[in-house]
């Protein structure tokens, strides 16, 4: 995230919060200055020094007390009014809308599904620019938190308590997200990205996610596929076209099309994929993915296969 993302909104919801934030910062900044100036003035003016007058034994002033009780109450009431409006603007009601996206937090990756089309991916969300999508947020294990600051509020992913949040982007771009509720050892590396693109690009992407990847028939990639089946990778990972639909680990059907690996720990590249498969702990020490103790040659083959999963 570059810049002060909470003040760089890219969606109407985030903008509602950002504008409120600026207003509040100004008000609070004003109060801070007032108190600081009052204190600094007092300690400068009423310092004990030779010739300084005796301290005046006063006990208080009821009028002043009322004044500095009423004034904050009025100010807070004003802030309260801003707040009520911003709550609705930044977190619009759901009404009868069925979710367009389903995000499930796992230790330590994000399962992403598009219920209406059936597309499934991990750690990388695509949305069409200018459209508001409803996200259903859930968890498969502990409490996580889904947060893409430029696009809006954060919302907890709690097992047993499904939440909903709107997501949209006014302009194309790649927006960073994080898990914002401590969820265990690799909480740090449970990031995600949201790619906002034109409607045509989004449709194309979704179609590609729905397509079943072709199975390689020969060469290193085919060897990689055989190794994948032998090593029981499908016990945790789903790859469309191959048996099983496990969600212990991320869906790998189109892993080669993603920009990040290991939920943001590294960028997606053949080199990094090699490093990951060779020894996951070298990238993400506490990841649940075991080290299969594969030889370099086997890993190369696996990478060759997975690079075909576009």
């Amino acid at each position: 995230m570059t810049g002060i993302v909470t003040l760089n909104p890219v969606s109407p919801e985030a903008a509602a919060i950002s504008h409120l934030f600026v207003a509040i910062l100004i008000i609070l900044g004003g109060i801070f200055l007032l108190v600081t100036v009052l204190v600094l003035y007092a300690i400068a003016r009423y310092r004990d020094r030779p010739g300084a007058p005796e301290a005046k034994q006063v006990f208080g002033s009821r009028r002043l007390e009322i004044a500095w009780t009423v004034a904050p109450v009025l100010l807070l009431t004003l802030i309260g009014v801003f707040m009520i409006r911003a709550i609705e603007a930044s977190d619009p009601p759901i009404e009868d809308r069925k979710p367009d996206l389903r995000v499930v937090g796992h230790q330590w990756w994000w399962e992403i599904a598009y219920p209406k089309s059936g597309a499934v991916t991990a750690n990388e969300i695509h949305i069409p620019v200018g459209k508001s999508l409803l996200v259903e947020v859930d968890s498969a294990d502990v409490i996580h938190d889904f947060w893409v600051p430029e696009l809006g509020r954060k919302i907890d992913a709690i097992p047993g308590h499904v939440n909903y949040v709107w997501i949209s982007a006014d302009r194309p771009g790649v927006y960073q997200g994080v898990c914002a509720e401590f969820c265990g050892a690799e909480h740090t590396w449970m990031r995600m990205i949201v790619v906002a693109e034109g409607e045509g690009d989004f449709d194309a992407w979704q179609r590609a996610q729905l397509a079943t990847p072709a199975m390689p028939s020969d060469g290193e990639a085919a060897r990689g596929l055989t190794i994948l089946k032998d090593q029981t990778c499908l016990n945790c990972h789903a790859i469309s076209g191959l048996a099983g639909n496990q969600t212990v680990g991320p869906d790998l059907s189109h892993i080669a099309s993603r920009r990040i690996l290991a939920a943001g720990a590294v960028a997606n590249s053949p080199e990094n994929l090699f490093r990951w498969l060779k020894n996951p702990a070298s990238i993400k020490p506490e990841s649940h993915m075991p080290n299969f103790q594969l030889s370099d040659e086997k890993v190369r083959a696996l990478v060759a296969y997975m690079e075909t999963l576009k």
Binding site: R47, L76, M83, H161
Partner: protein, 553 residues
């Protein structure tokens, strides 16, 4: 037999005991108070060490000073230590030392219970730290959210040690609270009516009631979590019908009053120090007292502002947002009254006063960032980020710890008979002030830039490293400040200027006896005809209640 007769029997026996062992068996509130301070200091060092390792790890991106799991143990222990083994015991120590003296009593209401409080609390702390060598310290954060804190996700015994350690600390604190409340209500010297109570005593009493109602809440939560961890129950595991959110309600039902339990004693100290070093009475005594009671009541109605991101519904969020903003009002009243006390005073800038005055500004910053969290949509962006880490440190360090330093410089002469060195104190103050702000001011910005809390590293984005590095430099500056503080104590205990009874020209009863006080506290307690007994004694024609009556108040 009467208390005085019993005391006369005990005193000569006590005088016979000498040496370290006598401290272990002591039921004297002064010795117990000092022991609280010493153990608090040790845990401050441990908690500080944990913080330094955390800041070293975070100084540059991609660092690997510690493993992720070790990092998680470090921040969990840092928070738990600073809250339960430093701030609470140190406040208890200052209170148990000062309160009986301030009300003209010989000791607290139940001296043996007082000793029990200290030793149980210490035992709880030792038990908690034992976890480091017994399979790993708790690593689920200082508030152990479920289901992360459940056996399925938290494999070692760390969280169980956390539960048991907190149980010990909790029992000690509760017993202490009951003790202090009864002491204030029943052991005041005749003449000290409730309306003449020094604010330190009044606020201590209100705080005791807070503890009496809030500590059992966490005890209940701990019992249920223990059932989950040791008996395989499922109160907080959704997979078996339990509720993870219930844990949060229980924890914060305690946790929010807890933060007031940590700041009220700070308010108590500041309300004594600022008037004395301004040379005039506290401005608006009744309002400071009444607003304290308001805060105590209201603190039970704001807990779910820690849960705005949980998704409990707008109405629910709105209620707690409004109640949280409301509690800012009585707090603000105090800030204004302390500031007004400075006006037309004759301000002596002792080290104690420097900490007290900067408390006003630091706590205001923390309080204002708290108001920004009360505004629900802002919380939706800022909670669980470094903006929150900044907020909590401004109120707990810039607030409670600064007040503790003010209190220590103020009462050290009474406790030891010697003055702390003012020149070294000046160095201590400035390194603390600069180090503290360097560490935590930038964290507001980091939070606004999207840095979540409880992460052991971060991507190498522009400015992230610079800001984190500044924060780490601040942390090491704080290390220097603590070393300077310890040096001051060491030097002054040996060669500090003799304090005399009342080095500050202060007005409350503890200054009417020797420094340190004799075992029975007072040879003779001065008459109490107002809120400032020693002022009235020194200025009979301008005694407080005379002046007040004359001006028709």
């Amino acid at each position: 037999m009467s208390d005085i007769a019993a005391a006369d029997r005990i005193a000569p026996v006590e005088a016979e005991r000498e040496g370290l062992l006598s401290w272990v068996a002591s039921v004297d509130h002064k010795q117990i108070g000092i022991m609280y301070l010493l153990s608090g200091l040790v845990f401050f060092g441990l908690g500080g060490l944990e913080a330094l390792i955390i800041r070293t790890q975070l100084a540059i991106p991609g660092n690997s000073i510690v493993t992720p799991d070790t990092f998680n143990q470090l921040f969990s222990m840092h928070g738990t230590t600073m809250i339960f083994l430093v701030i609470m015991p140190v406040m208890a120590g200052i209170t148990t030392y000062v309160l009986p003296l301030m009300i003209g009593a010989r000791d607290v209401a139940f001296p043996r219970l007082n000793a029990l409080s200290f030793w149980i609390q210490l035992f709880g702390g030792i038990l908690l730290y034992f976890s480091f060598v017994a399979g790993g310290a708790p690593n689920a954060g200082w508030f152990s959210y479920a289901p992360l804190s459940e056996p399925a996700y938290s494999f070692n015994n760390g969280v169980t040690y956390w539960i048991l350690g907190l149980a010990g600390v909790g029992i000690g604190s509760l017993a202490g609270a009951i003790n202090m409340a009864v002491t204030v209500l029943k052991l005041r010297v005749p003449g000290m009516t409730i309306r003449r109570l020094p604010l330190f005593a009044w606020i201590t009493m209100v705080n005791s009631f807070l503890m009496i109602f809030a500590l059992p809440v966490i005890n209940a939560a701990l019992v249920l979590l223990l059932a989950d961890r040791l008996l395989n129950a499922h109160i907080f595991t959704p997979a078996f019908g339990g509720s993870a959110v219930l844990w949060q309600h229980y924890f914060w039902g305690f946790g929010h009053p807890e933060v007031y339990i940590m700041i009220l004693p700070a308010f108590a100290i500041i309300s004594e120090v600022i008037p004395v070093f301004s040379g005039k009475p506290i401005y608006g005594y009744e309002f400071v007292a009444a607003s304290t009671v308001a805060i105590a009541f209201m603190s039970f109605a704001v807990w779910a502002h820690h849960m705005f991101a949980v998704g409990l519904g707008h109405l629910f969020d709105l209620f707690f947002g409004i109640s949280t903003m409301a509690i800012a009002v009585p707090t603000g009243i105090k800030i204004f009254n302390w500031t007004a006390t400075l006006y037309q005073g004759r301000i002596r800038f002792t080290t104690s006063m420097k900490f007290a005055v900067s408390f006003i500004v630091m706590f205001t910053i923390g309080g204002l960032s708290g108001v920004s969290f009360a505004v629900v949509p802002l919380d939706w962006q800022l909670t669980d980020t470094y903006y929150l880490v900044a907020h909590l440190h401004y109120v707990l360090f810039g607030g409670s710890i600064f007040a503790i330093f003010a209190g220590i410089y103020y009462w050290f002469p009474k406790m030891s008979g010697r003055m702390l060195d003012e020149r070294i104190g000046n160095w201590h103050f400035w390194t603390t002030f600069i180090g503290f702000n360097l560490t935590f001011l930038v964290q507001h910005l980091l939070g606004m830039m999207g840095m979540p809390r409880r992460v052991f590293t971060y991507p190498d984005w522009p400015w992230w490293m610079t800001l984190n590095m500044i924060s780490t430099i601040g942390a090491f500056t704080l290390l220097a400040s603590v070393i300077i503080f310890l040096w001051n104590i060491r030097i002054s205990l040996g060669a500090g200027a003799p304090a005399g009874d009342n080095p500050w020209d202060a007005w409350t009863l503890e200054w009417a006896t020797t420094s340190p006080p004799p075992a029975e506290n007072f040879a003779l307690v001065p008459p109490v005809r107002g809120r400032r007994p020693l002022w009235d004694l020194a200025h009979p024609d301008r005694a407080d209640e005379l002046v007040a009556a004359a001006s028709g108040e």
